[in-house]
Symmetry: C2
Subunit: 347 residues, 2 copies
């Protein structure tokens, strides 16, 4: 297996998990599941003992303090500070231009939860092996529900013991199509986890989005080192087109592959998804945080309090979050509206 | 019309409206409906301009501070401080032994809400007129729902333009009986509001509960004045039997009468009853307190916050109360369990 360099993408605006997630401390930096933050967990999933090189973190100015504080235990880590947000194609290219051309990058979002670290490690190895052969590899996350909020990967012909060509990238489908995908069994979720050899990624980016490749190369060439930080040139980077890696590279390359990953993954994309990722009692209830909680006649209730005592009677499928001066209460079916609450919008 | 002396009974333990109502500041002393507290409203309903004498308040040591603070604007008020709690027969007798024998007492609980003050005043006049003729008069509160938590009064023959004999006192009925009462139309709720001439009340008490009458007379005779306060003798009062005025007097006298009172009355006996007494918007929602509140897709929701912002999505028939370090959330159907929450029990 080649050495794998974790490239951890770290951003997020923090409205869908408001009020716990805030613009000033968004989702990756919160201990939403277990005791580690999602960012810490992303770093811990790629240990040196598992064949991983020290991580490269790509983040923005406003999250730099959180990143460096939570990276404390990761020797050799490098932090690339984006002068502005130019989406994932440019973010990954920043890391690529800083790495040897034969290195294999494992691109990981830092705002997802992965319950089964062993399954993640196995998929990472399989993906890295394919990447070392020149494939651009997506993790194909086992679809367990007909989600309409994710992109899907259609499995093509087998190219290794565990890998397949990606036959098709499918944008967020409607519910009917999502149900059909689930029934068909050859569609997986696209969770934004990728393995690329540096030179292959850059070649494909240059072929399909030459302006992004050239712009990022220039921003890195003119950039400055500052301890573990690297600052790409701001003016140059600001001119780089903003595009996702999916659009820019994955949907264009002829060498898209996927490895299936059944690893108890969640994007923790809203409070319901977080509740699903947590341990529950026999009534489906979960309690997080440090406030005392009493639940009477409740089912499928999540209470997360940062201090005050919360006493609840008779609720079902409801989420209660207490954070500072904010109390947010939503039904499971209302979680998509959390980000539009005035408290979340006017941060 | 005779001069009427309001006798305001003021106690309460404060568990059913927890966490707003606390042992240290129970229901009568809170501004639950409108800007006045229930106690203040009870005093204000009996103004000098309406033919009322200054009030006599009967309360316990632990509520004395609240009573005196909230009585500030009531000149001539007298406060009888119960050395111990001996129920309503003894409490009313304390006031009776301090008043002229021809005075008419209007006995009022201080933990109820009355929306229609004019209807109250009219019923008080009618009741006082009957009391001045020697009747022991209950307010017969118009029954609007088949409540199983109240006692009922059955209307008998007419004895004046607005008064009737009380044909029967009925303890809390089951639902089927309560529905039958409502259908029959001659049953009213017993809200614990009474008009008695002092000498008639004491004569009936002496006839049916001589130990209470004698004990209270003795406690008053041995009592001490202290400004507007009067302290009955503690040891003597402690030996007085504990009984309600309903059992001790009303169910035994042959001169029980009632005046109908349709005055938008509520005992505010739980959070649902409070919500029913409040103004609501077109969706049935009410907001109380000083915290910002945002309601999205909510119906029949009451939010009462003493500070924190509360944002709610998708709830129906739910009550949310924020008080100090406590957040209480209950469905309407769960309100009877509020008093059993550990926060309410362990005050």
């Amino acid at each position: 297996m080649p050495v794998i360099v974790p490239v951890i993408l770290c951003g997020g605006s923090g409205t869908r998990l408001w009020p716990r997630s805030r613009a000033s401390k968004p989702k990756p930096f919160l201990p939403l599941v277990g005791d580690s933050t999602l960012f810490e967990a992303a770093v811990l999933r790629c240990p040196a003992a598992g064949g991983f090189a020290p991580p490269v973190v790509v983040t923005g100015h406003k999250h730099l303090d959180h990143v460096e504080q939570q990276l404390a235990g990761a020797p050799g880590a490098q932090v690339i500070v984006e002068p502005s947000a130019r989406n994932t194609a440019a973010a990954i290219a920043l890391a690529a231009y800083r790495l040897p051309e034969d290195a294999v990058m494992l691109v990981c979002p830092s705002d997802h939860h992965i319950g089964d670290a062993d399954a993640f490690a196995a998929a990472a190895c399989a993906a890295a092996d394919l990447a070392a052969e020149g494939w651009l590899v997506s993790f194909g996350i086992e679809a367990t529900t007909p989600e309409t909020g994710f992109g899907y990967l259609k499995r093509g012909e087998a190219i290794s013991g565990t890998g397949y060509r990606t036959a098709q990238f499918v944008e967020k489908p409607d519910l009917e199509r999502a149900k059909a995908f689930l029934a068909e069994g050859i569609y997986a979720w696209n969770g934004g986890i990728f393995a690329f050899r540096v030179k292959d990624f850059l070649a494909e980016l240059t072929a399909h989005r030459p302006a992004i490749a050239a712009g990022v190369a220039d921003a890195v060439a003119k950039g400055t080192e500052d301890g573990q930080r690297f600052h790409p040139d701001a003016a140059t980077f600001a001119a780089v087109p903003s595009d996702s890696v999916d659009y820019a590279v994955m949907e264009n390359t002829t060498r898209a592959a996927m490895v299936p990953a059944d690893m108890n993954w969640s994007d923790i994309g809203n409070w319901h998804a977080l509740h699903e990722a947590l341990d529950r009692d026999d009534n489906g209830n979960s309690v997080r945080g440090i406030g005392d909680v009493e639940l009477v006649d409740c089912r499928n209730v999540l209470v997360d309090s940062d201090g005050p005592r919360v006493s609840v009677i008779g609720l079902e499928d409801v989420i209660v979050v207490v954070d500072g001066n904010d109390i947010m209460i939503t039904t499971v079916s209302g979680v998509q509206k959390v980000g539009k609450l005035s408290g979340a919008v006017n941060q």
